[in-house]
């Protein structure tokens, strides 16, 4: 029997995110469970994933687009707005739920050994599942507005999504571990999430920031979320504009050649730090929860 020849191992020694790959069947079940449970007992069910962002979009569109008249300077402002909102929603939902994931699953973590990375990673997948219907709405709106993207733009949008996933996973690992020791983390994350919508050009246009920051604009551009949102604009909003409207619109220089790689480097560094911090503290989760 195989058991008698196997090496002795030390229990509870994880290999971090690599373990998640080995447990992908469990990951799949955890994600499916979350999706099933999210809208349990509700009549509209998954429809809520459409209704909520649409409501959010309407509020911003009426308040900013119409009352503050941002739509005058930005053609197709509705699409500009929604493209940014869906991506930021994905990020905020991932990070917010990932932060709570370890504490929420404390019953399991205290009793059974599992790679703990599964829980934050699963929440990012769940958020991706809720991102999909929003993406469908966005693409529908783009098509109505005469969307003609190039292959490069579509590939860039996928890269931007991957970028946000990496960033959310990294920060999620970091804050979910911190949340075990200090429940303050939840509030810190709530604050970060509040800032995120405004710290990237979701509601306004990047040139407004450049006018104010001048030669310090690169600081703003270091935020991976800013890069991701700009790429979404380039992929979804730009191709809906007509020739005369394109004069009003512009993308930050070197977006794909410099800023996308930089954003990836930053996000991967965040993921690395998050994983490191998570692994160091994960061995104590069971007794600290």
């Amino acid at each position: 029997m195989a058991g008698s020849t196997e090496e002795m191992i030390r229990p509870g020694q994880g290999r971090g995110l690599l373990d998640v790959y080995d447990h992908r069947f469990l990951l799949k079940l955890l994600v499916r469970k979350e999706i099933k449970v999210r809208y349990r007992g509700s009549v509209l069910g998954l429809l809520w994933s459409y209704v909520k962002p649409l409501m959010q979009f309407l509020i911003y569109f009426v308040a900013l687009g119409i009352f503050l008249n941002l739509q005058r300077g930005t053609p197709n402002y509705a699409i500009y707005l929604f493209a940014g909102i869906v991506l930021v929603n994905f990020f905020t939902e991932s990070l917010g739920n990932a932060t709570r994931s370890i504490v929420d699953n404390r019953d399991l973590i205290r009793k059974i050994y599992l790679p703990r990375e599964l829980f934050p990673v699963a929440t990012v997948w769940v958020s991706a599942a809720h991102f999909l219907p929003q993406l469908v709405v966005l693409i529908g709106a783009c098509l109505i507005a005469g969307w003609t993207p190039t292959v490069v733009q579509l590939a860039a949008a996928i890269l931007a999504f991957v970028l946000v996933s990496i960033l959310a996973t990294g920060l999620g690992l970091l804050f979910s571990a911190a949340n075990v020791y200090f429940r303050d983390s939840e509030n810190i994350v709530d604050m970060i999430l509040m800032v995120v919508t405004w710290a990237s050009p979701v509601l306004y246009v990047w040139t407004m920031v450049k006018d104010v920051m001048g030669s310090w604009y690169w600081l703003y551009q270091l935020n991976p979320m800013t890069v991701a949102v700009e790429i979404f604009h380039w992929a979804f909003w730009f191709p809906t504009l007509k020739d005369d409207q394109l004069e009003l619109a512009s993308m930050p220089p070197d977006l794909m050649t410099v800023w996308l790689p930089v954003a990836f480097l930053i996000s991967i560094a965040v993921l690395f730090v998050g994983q490191l911090a998570f692994r160091r503290s994960a061995v104590h989760f069971a007794q600290e929860l």
């Binding site: 029997m1 195989a2 058991g3 008698s4 196997e6 090496e7 002795m8 191992i9 030390r10 229990p11 509870g12 020694q13 447990h23 069947f25 469990l26 079940l29 955890l30 469970k33 099933k36 449970v37 349990r40 019953d107 399991l108 973590i109 205290r110 009793k111 059974i112 050994y113 599992l114 200090f182 429940r183 303050d184 061995v283 104590h284 069971a286 007794q287 600290e288």
Partner: protein, 249 residues
């Protein structure tokens, strides 16, 4: 058959200390740091002081002791949920804990979904669960209720399903914490028969229970823990007798 003689679990000079933390807020921690770390932020408690033991493959061991003697802590160290502060634990082969059955259950999912979820949590692969599914349902006597949400189950049904999944996970080493008191008497007898069957198959069993009569029928060897130390290790009836005489005194 598993050859006897190989070590399945080896604990060397295990020490585990718990921190009974008073504070859970960053504010207090910062204040404590600013004040020059005066006073102790936390109180410590030794759960295991110096535990060394070896369990061979195929052995059935009962871990005995009063409340607070460190039995559950030891099981958690072996399962990997906790990490020791000193000493080492080594295990061979897959270890599965029947520790508080149903920990991985989700009330809003059907019995079927929970079988898959819990099976995967306990380390089964998709194929293993597919193959075992009918057997799990049959053993649990849940029958047609398998597609009902678990929250509508009676507590007996709930425990039966959880136990049934756990015994079907087929690891080399079973850690069993106080779960032999499952369901009504016929089901309990069935569980005990199942556990005996596992031990005959050469599985290693490591059982924690306060039901002394029961463990002496299931296990061969007994280990008595007191205040985080092994004070006796021997034939189960002798150890049970020792524990009884200690508590009577």
């Amino acid at each position: 058959m598993t050859a006897r003689g190989h070590v399945a679990i080896s604990c060397k000079k295990l020490r585990k200390q718990f921190v009974l933390r008073h504070t859970r807020s960053m504010k207090e921690a910062v204040v404590w740091l600013v004040k020059g770390r005066k006073g102790d932020l936390s109180k410590k408690f030794m759960a295991l002081t110096d535990v060394s033991l070896e369990v061979k493959q195929g052995e059935t061991v009962a871990l005995l002791g009063l409340n607070g003697s460190g039995k559950s802590t030891l099981l958690k160290l072996i399962s990997g949920v906790l990490q020791p502060d000193g000493g080492t634990v080594h295990t061979r082969g897959r270890v599965a804990g029947l520790i508080e059955v149903g920990a991985g259950f989700h009330h809003d999912l059907s019995g079927r979904d929970n079988v898959y979820l819990n099976g995967a949590i306990l380390g089964m692969t998709e194929k293993q669960i597919d193959d075992m599914f009918d057997s799990i349902v049959e053993f649990s006597e849940i029958g047609e209720f398998i597609d009902t949400e678990v929250k509508f189950y009676s507590s007996g049904m709930y425990l039966r399903l959880a136990f049934s999944i756990a015994v079907h996970t087929d690891p080399e080493v079973f850690l069993i914490d106080e779960i032999l008191a499952v369901g009504d008497e016929p089901f309990q007898r069935k569980c005990i028969a199942k556990i005996k069957e596992l031990s005959e198959k050469g599985k290693t069993l490591f059982v924690v229970s306060h039901d002394l009569d029961l463990v002496s029928t299931v296990c061969e060897r007994g280990i008595l823990l007191e205040h985080g130390e092994v004070i006796m290790d021997g034939e189960v009836h002798e150890v049970v007798a020792e524990l009884r005489s200690r508590t009577a005194a």
